[in-house]
């Protein structure tokens, strides 16, 4: 098997797929031969073809992040075939909500102390809970954040390209 110009051995993807690793192999920079499991997981969940298309649609300087995110999601799906990484999102979302409630209550206590008022019931909860839009599925107990209400990180929407 021919080696790529970047290393002496084929990349983990070409090794797994048992094909010649060309110099312009799109997987080679992100799937080193020392990490075979990384590509194996990604290929099992998403498929090499889909990964290749996805990488071609993003900027070259963003491909490493894209591969790392795919590897993370693939591993999460391998560990939990039902919820994958969405389970982690649900857990974290609940934690955020709980902490916000606690913060609101503590802020209310602080205001009362500052104003020298007697402690009283405070309806200051859920002041920031609306951010992101969370829907709670009672049947499964999973919080599903609305996928269309999150802010765009790093301005990556829509203009990925080679």
């Amino acid at each position: 098997m021919a080696s790529s110009s970047y290393s002496n051995s084929p990349c983990a993807a070409c090794k797994f797929l048992r094909r010649k690793c060309m110099p312009d192999c799109i997987f080679a920079p992100y799937f080193p031969p020392e990490e075979p499991q990384k590509f194996a997981n990604v290929h099992k969940i998403f498929g090499a073809s889909n990964v290749s298309k996805l990488l071609n649609e993003v900027h070259p300087h963003q491909r490493e992040d894209a591969v790392n995110s795919l590897a993370y999601e693939a591993e999460a799906r391998m560990k939990d075939p039902v919820y994958g990484c969405v389970g982690a999102i649900s857990v974290l979302q609940r934690q955020v909500i709980r902490l916000q409630k606690e913060l609101d209550a503590t802020n209310a206590d602080l205001i009362r102390y500052a104003c020298n008022e007697m402690p009283a019931a405070n309806p200051q909860f859920a002041r920031r809970m609306g951010q992101g839009g969370v829907s709670y599925d009672q049947s499964s107990g999973i919080y599903y954040p609305s996928p269309w209400n999150h802010d765009e990180p790093c301005g990556e929407r829509g203009d990925g390209g080679v």
């Binding site: 894209a66 995110s69 919820y83 955020v96 954040p145 990556e156």
Partner: protein, 269 residues
Amino acid sequence: MTLKGGTSQACASCKYQRRKCSSECPLAPYFPPDQPKMFQNAHKLFGVRKILKILENLESHQQEEAMRSIIYQANIRDRFPVHGCWGIICKLHFQIRQVEEELHAVLAHLEMYRQQQQQIAALTEDVTSQLELGMAPPQPCLAQQYSYSIIGSNIGYSSNYLDSNDNVGNSLWGQHPYATNYDTNSMPIIQSQLVASQPLASQQEEVQNYDEMHPFFDTIDDRQSYIETKEPYESSSEESLKDTAPSMEHAAENELKSAAACFTLTSIN
């Protein structure tokens, strides 16, 4: 493509693949024909074969949940092609860290308020008992000035606390994609507003207490020492001090020292 002799429309999956949608199509319940984009996203990320592979190893009651998570994951990837769900998780970790830090700061501030009130209450009780015994001149100024110094130090403490915890070392994200969203301005503003409102009210209250004690201390012998302690408040209550100004010339050494202590504390203002 519609079923022959049937009334139901082909699911989005079969429509996309241009094939016949049977009644036993495994993806039909999850991809209605009126939402083609949803299937396109799932197909783009996973592919039909991979989705079916995930479903075949699950129980029937788990398949619906699995499909929901797959569709959600695919929609997120469509919206955020680079980071996908991993980016959402990083953002949530960041939010949690941010809220936790804010919570710790507020709890610390609250604790300082409680200690401050306890100290003021203790000093007030002490002064009250001394007044009842007719002993030392009143020193509520010490309690109030001490509270001012605590408040002043609180502001600096909170700001330093937030600034020192600005860096993030979460192993999930090497490039900190959400670090720019961190805002340290919201918390200190709240605290400084609360803190700024207190000294003004305390100062007015202090002047009022001073006026109330006037008639009582006119009757005791060490009126001169009492007059010395009034000097720190000249800026806020000059009219009340005018009558006693000539008596300040004959202050004893001990009274001067205690007055100097008051002067030191008032330098905060």
